[in-house]
Symmetry: C4
Subunit: 287 residues, 4 copies
């Protein structure tokens, strides 16, 4: 990577180091500042939605919002310049999120209307995901993603069973406690079934008849018990993803004396020359 960048102008390399590199002190300071600016921007949107605060500090909040929009626009342009290929950044996930988080602010100038304004502001909150960008550097996130991806087919089967159960339970409840009781329609009953099976239990709708309470009890016990299934799936998936990662790390080990590689995960000595291999502490600290 360094050899390729030497051909580029020196200041672009420096800029890229600040913006994209999180290992240098300058890069770390930039990321910290960016996170502070994003959190501030999200807080401003939140506070502006509170009636009392908007009445008192509305103009101030809108001014901070415009300054931050300006800074984020500048940041977006700098990212385009600093990237080895501007189009590559612009089409990446964070490139799109970055653009979407500044576009709405300018859109307001051309498209008036408070209601629409509120909807577009939501997109700005996605900028928070950029904080997770740091996670890309953590092998943890990749192990988690791997485990979840590997568990996806099993979790899909599980979710299909949950959705079907919820529809059947909701419809049965509509039959048992339909009008004049609280279960006024099948969609409402299914909503209640989701509230119950996921153990949220708002209590805005609750069964009144003995039969309804019996059916609700079965739904609750079902919801209480089947949470064990996705947990088991993810645990097994995570355990395998971690084992695979450790194995991969171990395979890269090279014996210091004879140069042999491809050691077993639990190997402590080189299998050819009995040299002590580097201890497993490294991956034990970052499990």
């Amino acid at each position: 990577m360094t050899s390729e960048q030497q051909e580029q102008a020196a200041w672009r390399v420096t800029l890229a180091n600040i913006i994209y590199n999180t290992d240098t002190p300058a890069g770390r300071s930039f990321d910290l500042l960016l996170i502070v600016a994003i959190v501030l921007s999200v807080l401003v949107v939140m506070l502006e939605s509170v009636v009392g605060i908007r009445a008192a500090y509305g103009p101030l909040l809108r001014r901070i919002e415009w300054i931050l929009t300006g800074l984020f626009t500048l940041e977006y342009i700098l990212r385009l310049i600093a990237a080895r290929r501007a189009s590559h950044y612009a089409r990446s996930f964070f490139g799109v999120v970055d653009l979407l988080s500044i576009a709405p602010a300018y859109l307001i100038l051309f498209v008036p209307g408070a209601q629409a304004l509120l909807i577009v502001r939501v997109l700005r909150l996605l900028r928070l995901f950029r904080i997770l960008k740091l996670a890309r550097y953590l092998s943890e996130a990749s192990v988690l993603t791997q485990a979840l991806q590997a568990s996806l087919p099993k979790i899909t089967v599980f979710l299909a069973v949950v959705v079907t159960s919820v529809i059947v339970i909701g419809t049965l409840m509509y039959v048992v406690e339909g009008p004049p009781y609280g279960f006024t329609s099948i969609p409402t009953s299914i909503y209640w079934a989701i509230v119950t099976v996921t153990t949220v239990g708002y209590g805005d709708i609750a069964p009144k008849t003995p039969l309804g309470k019996g059916l609700a009890s079965l739904a609750m016990i079902l919801g209480y018990a089947i949470i064990a299934v996705p947990t088991g799936i993810v645990t097994v998936g995570l355990s395998q993803a971690q084992a695979r990662q450790r194995e991969r790390e171990r395979e890269d080990w090279v014996c210091g004396r004879c140069g042999l590689s491809g050691h077993a995960t639990d190997a402590r000595y080189c299998r050819r020359c009995s040299e002590v291999l580097p201890s497993g502490k490294k991956d034990a600290e970052r499990p």
Copy 2:
């Protein structure tokens, strides 16, 4: 299977391929259409239960319902014809569900009465389970089913403990906060205990006295802690079911050079001729 079917008429084979086979393009299109029709049929039943929508679009919804009933009837007849043994299909789980999902619509013609009508409509929703039919082809579902079956005796012991706890807690609560408080009878108190232990917590009934609140606190902590038990059971069961499946897959491996089979799960080289065995990637992708 193919040799047996060659004796049958060619068009029945083609029909069976479309209806029962999900690997051919025609079969896939048929399944997709069927799923769309089932979801539409379920949506129609749901929407008809909403007072406002029934008032505005009632006749339209009923017409769609009759068209779908006709199509499902046709599908049922075709399935009977295409099956190698019609009686075998008719008595299978999905054969019974298919029949139950069309029968109620015709029953209405002979048995009048709105209340009864609503009850039979519920059965039609079971048709959604047919979507899960696709899951039969996923080895995931079989691993899940295996793990749950293997865990069944342990989960039965666990559920017996939960049911007993809930009855004892409910009765104690009736003694502590019986009439004139909200816990008007033992069945109501047991219902409250289920709502509490499963951490649903509607709040329609809640303890008022200090002693009742103390007892409720114990029930909550119990419910919060014992969820760990079924989770542990399913996780261990799933981990074993998966290990067994992988071992089974690995045992089928044959060394490409010497033809030796029965290799250990973690084998990377043939134990007789040291040939590299096919990598574990295949089962790593479908865990």
Copy 3:
């Protein structure tokens, strides 16, 4: 056991076989009858607590109750006679539960007063635990008990942390939203903290101020995350208990050719004579 019993009278052996043995047809029938009688007795107590049912069927229910009390008394006497040592049974867990489940019914004759009567009826419900007696014969229950016992010290540490957190959160909430808000005293606030941390969430008490809502949010996320800890503890404990049991079962295996025992858990061939060992299917079916 059989040699010892041969010295006893033949009819006592027969009686013991019916009452204590669940393997013979007679013993199984007796157990089934007993379970039906216990469930009926519990149902009678439940139904009697419902005002409408008591008004209509009160005398009938009380008559059934007296008949069942008579039968349970007879059963208790027969158990004392059939036991190899009457005192041994009388002091066992189920001996005490059996006595406690019949004593209250007679106590009513001497100690009048409806309120006290209700309290003692609760004890009768413990008779349901006797159904679990069957579980003693399932190795499942013993694996579960072993796993929970092994996990006990870790779970105690976890519960101590939860109790402390709940007291601190409850007190902080009293300071933040004490009177005139809903958090009227520290015990009430701690009750709310338990309702929140265990994710039950009745909603009978809920924070009103922004600071209170912020604190409540932290409590919820804490409760949501730390449920992972007991689950992890029980899963690991269960996995070890099961591995230990399987190892124990495997160690009992004897090679069919040379008679060698003490084979490793994953052994497939006798390590001395290479004879194929009985497959692991037996313990795979009862995991």
Copy 4:
């Protein structure tokens, strides 16, 4: 340790044994007394917050509180004297907690005002953590702490995802059911999202429109499913922490015949002289 203490005055050694040592009978009695005093002190603070009890027993409770404050002050001074280095104790976690749990009582004498008084009383409750001091002697707590520390990076990634989801869901809900409905501001909506995703579900705010209910259903299913992630993380972390601890214990084993150490975790015989190694029961009892 003993050699160092021999140079100290004998009575300081005796005092240290009583206060810091939990293995001697005197030390155990002291700890038990201390726990009783702390629980009593916490109970007094709790009861004083209940209006009815304060009116009836206020002066008595305040007297008990002052006696306990005196005793805790004496204990703190004795701890400073008995410690090998007073400054080392004073700056330790429990040294600071001990000071904070007596300081507020004296602060009241100089800083009047009931409101402030209530806030400082909360700190006294932290004294309960001292009970957990006993846990320091349990290897269980260290395994738990190790597992949680090792899982920390993964749990941070998970919490970041949860916090982001909750902000996005809350803002979407504000857009969908903002004023005139119950979701009056973005912070309120985020509070609702936390209540929903953690499956607490107070029901103080609940969606009213079909779109809102649909969005809430998605949030509930998300919250219900992702609890599997931290559980999986902690389970895998705990399983590894426990395996590492057992390995460490096993490595300390020395063969009784030839003195060889460094045996494998599953070793049953000395790998040099085939002597039977001490059985694994010791660590099986304390898992």
